[in-house]
Amino acid sequence: MSTPGDRGVVWLGSPSFPDAAREALKDTQLRANLARATSTIRDKRLAVASELDDWEELRTSAAAIKRRTARHLDHYLVQLEESVTAAGGTVHWASDAAEANRIVTDLVRATGEREVVKIKSMATQEIGLNEHLADAGITAYETDLAELIVQLGDDRPSHILVPAIHKNRTEIRDLFAAEMGHWGEPAPDGLGDEPAELAEAARRHLRQKFLTAKVAVSGANFAVADSGTVVVVESEGNGRMCLTLPQTLITVMGIEKVVPTWSDLEVFLQLLPRSSTGERMNPYTSTWTGTTDGDGPSAFHLVLLDNGRTDTLADTVGRQALACIRCSACLNVCPVFERTGGHAYGSVYPGPIGAVLTPQLVGVENAASLPFASTLCGACYDACPVKIDIPEVLAHLRAEVVEAERADRRAPTPEALAMKAAATVLDSPALLGAAQKAASLGGRALARRGRIGRLPGPLRGWSDTRDTPVPPAESFRTWWRKNRSQNEGER
């Protein structure tokens, strides 16, 4: 049985969301970068989604397929294993990050290679594979442009689709100029910050690695159970190179990525590119089924990763988060993400989906601030191509956080005491009436020029940027009783 500590996902020692967000908010450049990037991609997504008359039906279908597959996950995973094995691949089962890392490391070691090329993959980010391989003396080279930027900067990803969204092109130019010389072809002298120039520098820098690497590591967007086909959807073509040139291909895939058939896959291939990059179709969709003599890798290993997913599946409300296809639409529409960026979430899964996925994968007590990192505005639910009701799961996880605190602490938190007191007052019209009178008197005592300014204690943060209105002299119920309720007896 794995414990959350074996699961990776979160960056150990990260501050709570409010503390991390407070720091991130001071970075006005970051906020400007994020606001520009997310609003561009939001508009693109809306434009291509509205082209399809059956967009809502596609979302409903996708949610239904994911729900059905999750209900029979045991069946489809075994079917996938049989299909992949029959096609010449080898399937490995990993219960947690530690086991998955061990399996991949052993597989690379068995080839005798010390270097691997990597395709952008959330599952390998989740388990911290690169760091684990490095400890074993194996260097992993990220080939996705944005992942390369993160790796060269010894940085952390801040977005599921665009992991370097927190960097602007000037910062990227400086990074390339400083870091590319350590391995591969250095950045050319006088490198500019035009996107085409930067992409060309990355192409040249990576070329030799593509041509010489014997082992590639990938994730998977989908795997089709009945045919054993694994699918990677990408934009740059680096993935295609990694999937075809090396001799050995190792794919690490979360167990929730399985779909029953190609007809099911079709639904997702319409939804994913439109939701993630705002394109009708992504430039590269690679599919492979086991191995083929003389064509592509001669050895294929599929590592099926649990890492908290079956625990999540056991939660009847929370399990819908496993339907996520990692499109990032929820990040791009989230008003909180837009202000704080992804690092504040302290997890490889940032944004709204991260706020519901991370606490479930590692346990709510290890990510207790994340379910509260939302106004429950609902923009994520509307954007989600597989209709994950993220606000519903957030509220559900908040209750779990509160229950965990109740069970864990001998004395209730100040918040719990306040909530209990409020519940008592609010369940009594008489007490509510008394509280209203007290609020009115207290509020008017605090008021200056018709408004209440700075407040102490837990309300200080609120009152830093907001005045509070002065409560009226008379509540509505008092007014009603005096003026309207002649027929109702005084209480």
Partner: protein
Amino acid sequence: MRVALFLTCFNDTMFPDTGRAVVTVLERLGHTVDFPLEQTCCGQMHYNTGYRPEAVPLVDRFARTFDGYDAVVTPSASCAGMIRDQHPVLARDHGSAALQRQVAEVVPRVHEFTEFLVDVLDVTDVGARFPHRVAYHPTCHSLRGLRLGDRPHRLLRAVKDIELVDLPTADACCGFGGTFAVKNAETSSAMLADKTRGVLDSGAEVLCAADNSCLMHIGGGLSRKDSTVRTMHLAEILAQDEGAGR
């Protein structure tokens, strides 16, 4: 039709004018409105902050208080959403079979104020006059929760002498989110700053919405900036008489 006003604890305490406005509009349309004094709170704060068992007595109180009315009207989109979407969940997970039945009985008769006017009473012109420049902020619970759509706009467009102006990035959350504004005050402030900029850019004299909680948040930000833009619940605009105005 026996109509009850569920004002909500927040409006009862902080915004009694909104309650009087709802009563004024409904009486002008020929209805008698009752305000059962046993009413308190829908439990939204407790539910959204994770304190579900604490919310259950409030669900029970709501169902008992409003039992027997043909319609329960509330001038709060977020409280209406809480009742419609969460009261059945709380009754199912934490309540008795009797409570589940009571909740199932009362919930379909609960209407947010603009829903009640447009859908139940089939009215858009409520005979109001308000000669001012007004922007409407679609709160998250109005827009994506209850899906009020253009009901508020239709009601506002029918107000005599009103000048409606567009609010830039209207559909963005103002950053309130109940206890979010306390727990994540800085992030909330950053969202609020963009919203108040939009309000000021709109040129409106008055900002209205179907929820006073969001309006109190935005109004608090405007007040801190010493802005003269007023925030008013939509019902208070609809309550303005022909020839009155303020």
